[in-house]
Symmetry: D2
Subunit: 498 residues, 4 copies
């Protein structure tokens, strides 16, 4: 059994080289500002160790036959996809939002597919390298983060057109034993407490962009890697140390300051035709993960909204039910797309099971279109107090008794529960994490704009127009429009033709 404990994970972290920076200070991984993020990852170890969670949180490695954490697994069948989705939702509920470890999973799955396809077309040998790395990854129950988004400079220009060539990460030197890369990647969630950074391209590329078509993995404290990080933390709560206040988010702006990557950890090197395929494949697996985590976020918001409405004596009001039903409906619609996507998934040459991309895109887009509105509903139902409630220490002061008196709501609900409920809602609506969660709800996994683009590029529009042509009498043959599983296989085929 290749499962490690939360303690073993932390021990690994604490041994790592100092390369984390906050506010100009160089830190090691013991820094308290990182612990709220680390606490989230720890849950993924803890639950995998509990019998009642094992079916969901562990899997059997197709490589070694050993039991591995599902976050280290390469999906082999429909059931794997369904379980990953469900695990993501359940864990998300438990930590009150993003579980953070899926980025590693999604990038590893993307690499499993694309290294194989590249090898088949180009005669390269990336897939075996990847499998070697995967074996190491699974055996040690490693935590991966994914560094995808380049800083991108002028958004209207391609990588090779930027005035400063480093605005997309690129290979600056090729050596016998590896490559040297330079650039920076933004928005690397969980990077400061990940074992491994998985680096992949962020977009489609042309032959002129070849040096930018690069994928690899390096340890989090690899020489030359600098992480300038930004934590978003819950308020410290002494009086109400609820679970929600243990969890936070840390984002890294990761600089690759001429970093040497040894050959055996390089998974793409200049195969520009596959850069977009890999970028899309990660987005795709990640959007499928979103069909699990976004419903969890909605569950948390709907749950808090329903609780505050109950405590205020408003639970039965028509408009309250209507609004809560909107959040629930969003959760269930998005979750349904993940199920449908697994149902329509396909096995690729590498053996990896790839979810249907249209369902994941419409699901992720629907989530993205609704996230701010869901926060709006919670704030609407909670009333202004979520933004104006006195701080915790005031409740312990000479004014404490009066504050408690005036916090009373529905008869029979202990005022301490009302306070705890409001602390949660405050945290969700105006806390340090609130804005970050909203922005993540738009951009994490690609904004709705990106999903619309992906959707319209991949949807068989010509076939769809056949319906109108038949009905209008322009084409006389009816072929019913079944879009088929418009899976990445087609991208691959497209690339093969080139």
């Amino acid at each position: 059994m290749a499962l490690k404990t939360a303690e073993q994970y932390m021990e690994r972290l604490f041994k790592m080289r100092k390369n984390i920076y906050i506010n100009g200070q160089e830190l090691d991984r013991l820094d308290p500002r990182l612990q709220a993020g680390i606490n989230i990852i720890k849950e993924t170890f803890k639950l995998a160790a509990q019998p009642e969670w094992q079916e969901l949180c562990t899997a059997t490695s197709h490589l070694t036959g050993e039991t591995v954490n599902r976050f280290c697994h390469i999906h082999q069948n429909k059931e794997d996809l369904l379980k990953k989705q469900k695990m993501t939702r359940m864990l998300g509920q438990r930590v009150g939002g993003c579980i953070q470890r899926c980025m590693g999973t999604d990038s590893m799955n993307a690499l499993s597919v694309v290294t194989k396809e590249m090898d088949d077309v180009m005669g390269t040998e990336y897939h075996q390298r990847f499998l070697n790395f995967l074996k190491y990854f699974q055996e040690n129950d490693l935590v991966g983060c994914c560094a995808q988004t380049d800083v991108k400079g002028d958004r209207s220009k391609r990588p090779n057109e930027q005035p400063d060539p480093d605005l997309y990460l690129r290979i600056v030197e090729e050596r016998e034993d590896g490559i040297v890369v330079r650039g920076a990647k933004a928005h690397n969630t969980a990077a400061p407490y990940a074992d491994e950074i998985i680096v992949i391209p962020t977009r489609f590329m042309t032959d002129k962009d070849a040096p930018y078509a690069v994928a690899f993995a390096v340890p989090g404290d690899h020489p030359g890697v600098k992480m300038v990080v930004r934590p978003a933390l819950p308020r410290t709560r002494e009086a109400t140390p609820s679970p929600i206040f243990q969890y936070g988010d840390v984002e890294s702006f990761t600089i690759f300051d001429d970093v040497f990557v040894p050959k055996e950890r390089v998974f793409m090197k200049g195969e520009f035709m596959f850069a977009g395929f890999l970028a899309l494949m990660f987005a795709h697996f990640h959007r499928h993960s979103y069909t699990g985590c976004k419903p969890a976020v909605s569950d948390v918001l709907a749950s808090a909204a329903a609780l505050v409405a109950e405590y205020s004596g408003l639970e039965k009001a028509h408009y309250v039910r209507e609004k809560i039903s909107h959040i629930i409906g969003t959760a269930e619609l998005v979750y349904a797309t993940g199920i449908a996507s697994a149902e329509a998934s396909e096995k690729f040459a590498s053996g990896t099971q790839v979810p249907d991309e249209i369902y994941t895109n419409v699901g992720r887009r629907h989530a993205g279109h609704n996230i701010y509105h869901e926060y709006e509903i919670l704030a609407d139902l909670a009333g202004g107090l979520c933004a104006t409630m006195p701080f915790e220490d005031d409740f312990d002061s000479e004014n404490g008794e009066l504050l408690r008196k005036y916090m009373q709501r529905a008869a029979g609900v202990p005022v301490e529960d009302i306070i705890r409920c409001y602390r949660l809602v405050e945290h969700l609506t105006v806390g340090d994490l609130s804005g970050v969660m909203q922005v993540a709800g738009i951009h994490g996994g690609g904004s709705p704009q990106m999903e619309t683009i992906a959707l319209m590029q991949r949807y068989p529009l010509k076939k769809l127009k056949g319906v109108a042509k038949y009905l209008a009498g322009i084409d006389t043959d009816f072929t019913c429009f079944e879009r088929g599983t418009v899976t990445p296989k087609q991208i691959m085929d497209r690339f093969k033709r080139k």
Copy 2:
């Protein structure tokens, strides 16, 4: 093989007693105003007879083992539900909208479940009666319509509270050999060309409403049944007789003027505790059918929008793609809920496979919330011409040449195709059927309002609030929120407890 031909279906129709009224005239089923509706039903016979459609359009009766039209089938497993959904979408594309025969299917499935549950609880013998009727129904490949919606009088009052007791259909006399019923049912799609009318209750009922808790089936021309019908027809097209102009809708306002129903065709008689269960079960199966037919409507609209954009030279414009992607996204979201609902379906005591109700409700609601906006998008992209295009005969007149000259659009598209395309769009946006399809998109299968109510009544809100209680530290045990399959089984259990 219990499949009949379209011709056999029509022969049955033409033998029926005159009891159809339009504009005060009594008609038989040969009347030309009914043919556009009949043409739709005929497709369900024709395709079931074509080898490439048989897997989708036929099924094996669990009763007789014979091959039956899928519209006569009682769903036995997940695959049956998935195929019914897909069949509905494919046929919907072919007739440009509602396939009309599903109402019979959905009401028969609902009866299969509820008659069994009633028998188990009440010791009645409805289920065997139902199976006898089903056998007859399947063997003759009958077309059923469902008469559910009572005229309802004052909406703020229950059946027994209405000033006129007949505003909900009720039993006015019980006899040894059957019952006599009086009342009227509105919105009976396809009733004038159905073989059988399946009558079921429209809402939950109390003990005072017992005479209103009634379900039965009678032939379409049964003595005492009067159908005052309203067809919505396409314009007659001589120059462009495209498929779309063959299909239309006919709605019946069906009056039961003291109708005798023989005992063997009565499936509920006063069991008021089961009235709501049956109403909900039909709604439920019907909402699952919507996850097939509504995507078909979206397919037709998106397809027409994409075609008119192509012909206008606008297909690549960002805003055009954005808008079309909205319709596509709606189709795929709604379809995904049907798949998820089948995945989470459960087998009931009768052996009938019942889809998950939360997914069907959120899917149907999403469809209902978007239908007008989808029509808006088509009208938006088509431009005003869909409402102002000269009539067909003008194109055959002395002005024909000039009109053709000025109808030219993107180079290379024959002007006749442009005209045909616009005739389709005109039909969809301003034709006689357009408003009817919009209203049906709101109300058919229950309006979004109804789905919100169903959703909030059935969603395990208490369990959901457990998430917030855990995160806020109010409850210290975490149980992840899995709503479970909130299927009608629970309703049944609820009734059993009474």
Copy 3:
């Protein structure tokens, strides 16, 4: 007093040459299919003759000092704009929608501005010609329609780039005494019963498009003008001949088959730099008219929704009030923009008062974005019966008594009133005019897409960014952002600079 009677208007019409075509037939203006449209125009004469309406429906000509119908007036001040807006709403309520005569008013006002500006810049003599025409127009109380929208062919190409040069109307010959024009204009509301057709360009033009920069007026039956028209008519009602069933819409596809226009009626001839200015000016005045007529449409829809809710016993239900409040809110928001636009209006060189363009654009856009949703609300609250109600003659047949029995709703409301109410709702939601009104709600006066473009072209974005630059410390001087009245004067100035 230059007011004519409805009878005088009709006499003029009936004397006109036959040049109207429906279904390939050549008609005169007595044809019954035109009367529902004519009835609307007649209201504008009738009310102007009633003392209590005169302040609203008449004005004092700035040219002659005589009392003229407000539809013939050139707005001289803020009050004129406010009264035009109010008149439009009040008349719209009376005819249940579009009052149809404003297009002439709006194009005349646009010409009053642009002919003057052109003369000032180019040394032409259009303004005096226009004033001569205006005098004739006012003295005879003429009805104008506006032919603006060219058929446009491939939308991605400019006028001069179209394969067929006639896809935008153009000057094909210049003579001493006038010009000859060829082309076609679509969507000419009310053209078949207008005295005069005012023709103006539909877009901005370049020097290569000079022959397309043309404006003029010709009588409705001018030689060479052919109108292929499409009426959208209410159902004929004998039992319930309510006001709403007297009114309809007629749209013309107007072909200019080498039409000679005498010099004194030509108001632009090749001044391509002013083509866009004139197009925009008409759109602008017309969008201001929309701030009157669109609230009227909302008034009708909200009113019908409230009435059907009352009759159904649902008036107090929260969700009913919420939905109706949406329609009311739309009406009042849009109407407010018209008032604000008049408040911020400016007097131009010609003396014409020009409304603020930003307010009219955001108002018209808001209306366009909501129109389908308003219809949706009405259909939602009315229930399916608006689409399935039996036809009128059935209520006079042997089934009449039973139908009346089953149409009963809230106690105390006569069933005849319920039937009348539903006939209105049916007309609004599924009638022949329903789709046309929806499409007009999107495209009439320019679709929301067009308003967004106009808004973003004219909004002082650079100035707006000054706010962010100040707050961010990029620019240290604060100048508060007052967009100023971004009126067409600026367009004019822009043209003057060229």
Copy 4:
């Protein structure tokens, strides 16, 4: 001239008794955590002293004829309302959001109206008392805050029905020389640095609620008043000390712990029939203020969105313009309702000019419905960096140069400007104030739910239904629907009748 300087205002503050609490500490008004709020109020003094702002920021007292700060003014005419609206927008742009001083203005104006009406009906002498207080208020250029929202306990119960009678503020003792009150008011913006607290009721009341019908003013440090406050502060910026980082918000949970109010400062004492009138009147003036401040918030958001798009090289992208146009459109629609509301305003018995309530309600509601979406657009266009950008000190550290390198965007934009721009966007989207501004955008001045209720209570629905009744032929007389100015005068009349 009764204008004071910002310094004089601060001197007053610093002399006040300590009765502010944060985190259990008792503070005076010099505490640094209050300064960001104080800085906002100071702007209202500073600008009133600048000649170019005086027309907007000062007014002539109708009481004394002296020049007073417009925030101390009672609106006398339409122009006053228009100027107040404009001033609010301009100042809001300058401080990047809420100007905070309007609450005092709005409550004083409400009192001016209601004290007069009460006197007229009840024979009381509140109005003269109020005028005396107003004179003092104006002469000293005082800053008022408004304490309206009671803590309310169980929302489904009225004041007199709460288990603890103090959950709404009430009179607990009446004395010869005044009253003693007990209770708490939540969400008192700016209270900790206001000179005066204006206390008014929060809802309609019945005779049983008489002790809760109370209005008065006390100085901010009045004996028995305790403010437990919650500041929302910008991050401290040393490297980029831009204007935006000087401003913040402070909310008070104000406890009236048996506070004695001298007679001459009591403006309502048990006149329960006027409690709702006063509550509504404040809401009404405050919603009119919203038509100024909410456009300012939109100006800031649109401005930041446009700037970040420009700096990213995306300004011309269609979807960027579409999204920014949405924010601009919201600003202009809401602003238009304020203008229309002033246009339709009425002078009341006290001489106060009262804006039209329907326009203010639909305007405020539209603002409330869009606020989260506007933040969403900014976050969408800014990209994830607004949430993940390294902290300020990192830019001054050893990594500073690399961070600057990777922050480059469109050529020619200095990287320091890009950083400043992102600091602003970060502040707006994920800063401490961000969530507070969102919640304020929903609840400040009453949530959309409240405006819908107000709108539907006051809209002349019966009159509106007259339109449908005429068109349907139910009523044969047409009276056009002019809702009239549905001003509070009608409430007053309603009360008079009682």
